[in-house]
């Protein structure tokens, strides 16, 4: 009985922490005004935010006696795919010149996103 109650408390605590982080992510998205800085808040804070919500889900499933570990997969897939979408948004920003032009690389010619034919450069 007490274990179930402790579990419930842990679930609620995880939910509060998770939603708190997601709230901070949303605030960051609204507050910053440059496309590159706006990219930071949601992609980052989201990982721990959603991680805590999924943790709450796992603990709750054990709490009610129907163990489930699907959430681990969601977490794994999220951690693999989140950087890729962030990378694509960053690439679009660079391509559209929506942000400061990055310094050129020391060794190679240019950044691969900037390496496009003249007529394709977005204006």
């Amino acid at each position: 009985m007490t274990l179930v109650i402790i579990g419930t408390y842990i679930v609620s605590l995880s939910l509060i922490i998770g939603s708190g982080f997601i709230l901070v992510g949303v605030i960051g998205l609204l507050k910053f005004n440059d496309p590159m800085t706006r990219l930071h808040a949601p992609t980052k804070v989201g990982t721990v935010g959603i991680g805590m919500l999924l943790l709450a889900s796992i603990i709750h499933s054990f709490d009610i006696g129907k163990p489930s570990t699907h959430e681990l997969l969601i977490m794994a897939f999220l951690f693999v795919t989140a950087p890729i979408s962030a990378n694509f948004i960053a690439k679009v920003n660079i391509h559209r010149r929506a942000c400061e032009t990055p310094p050129s690389p020391p060794k190679d010619g240019t950044w691969s996103t900037l390496d496009v034919p003249e007529e394709d450069v977005a204006t």
Binding site: G25, L39, H40, V80, I94, C99, P105, D108, W111, T113
Partner: protein
């Protein structure tokens, strides 16, 4: 024998991971599920192997566990830092910066992993790769010391990845 094994299981680690993912998806532990997971784990890498012919040489899974723990710890710590920056630093005082990380890693898998790690650890997003693949472009949300962030990435993540992919 070894060649037949390699033909059947071109990526042994992937087979193990796929079996494990299948069992997690099914949410049950039974012999039938393990066997079906193994069948999937053999068929999927075999069917898709023409798209990735190069197996990363010398991959050390044991060091990977230590690396994952370091990354998870960094994600939690840095999340709190970014939350603090978002809530307290006014937009006008924010100091975003581009930093260029010279890459010692050469294998595409290792570079992908480094880029993913940089994006997951808050405060930094890996934005682009140079056209020959010798440097990585990273955007930092708020820093007073861009060179310090670069050195941090090199010593903390790249050095460990160099040990994992040797």
């Amino acid at each position: 024998m070894a060649r037949a094994f390699h033909w059947l299981v071109p990526h042994p680690l992937l087979t193990v991971i796929l079996t494990f993912v299948w069992m997690l998806l099914q949410n049950e532990l039974s012999a039938g599920m393990v066997v079906f997971g193994l069948i999937l784990g053999i068929i999927i890498p075999w069917g898709t192997s023409i798209w990735w012919p190069d197996t990363p040489r010398g991959f050390r899974p044991a060091k990977m566990i230590g690396y994952s723990l370091v990354v998870i710890w960094d994600i939690i710590i840095a999340n709190i830092q970014v939350a603090w920056i978002v809530l307290t630093v006014p937009t006008a005082k924010l100091k975003p910066a581009w930093i260029v990380v010279p890459l010692k890693l050469r294998e595409p898998e290792a570079i992908t992993m480094l880029a993913g790690t940089i994006t997951l650890t808050p405060g930094t997003v890996s934005a682009d790769l140079s056209d020959e693949g010798h440097s990585l472009l990273v955007h930092v949300l708020h820093t007073d010391d861009p060179d310090g962030v670069r050195d941090d990435i090199e010593t903390r993540y790249e050095a460990r990845l160099l040990e994992i992919f040797t």
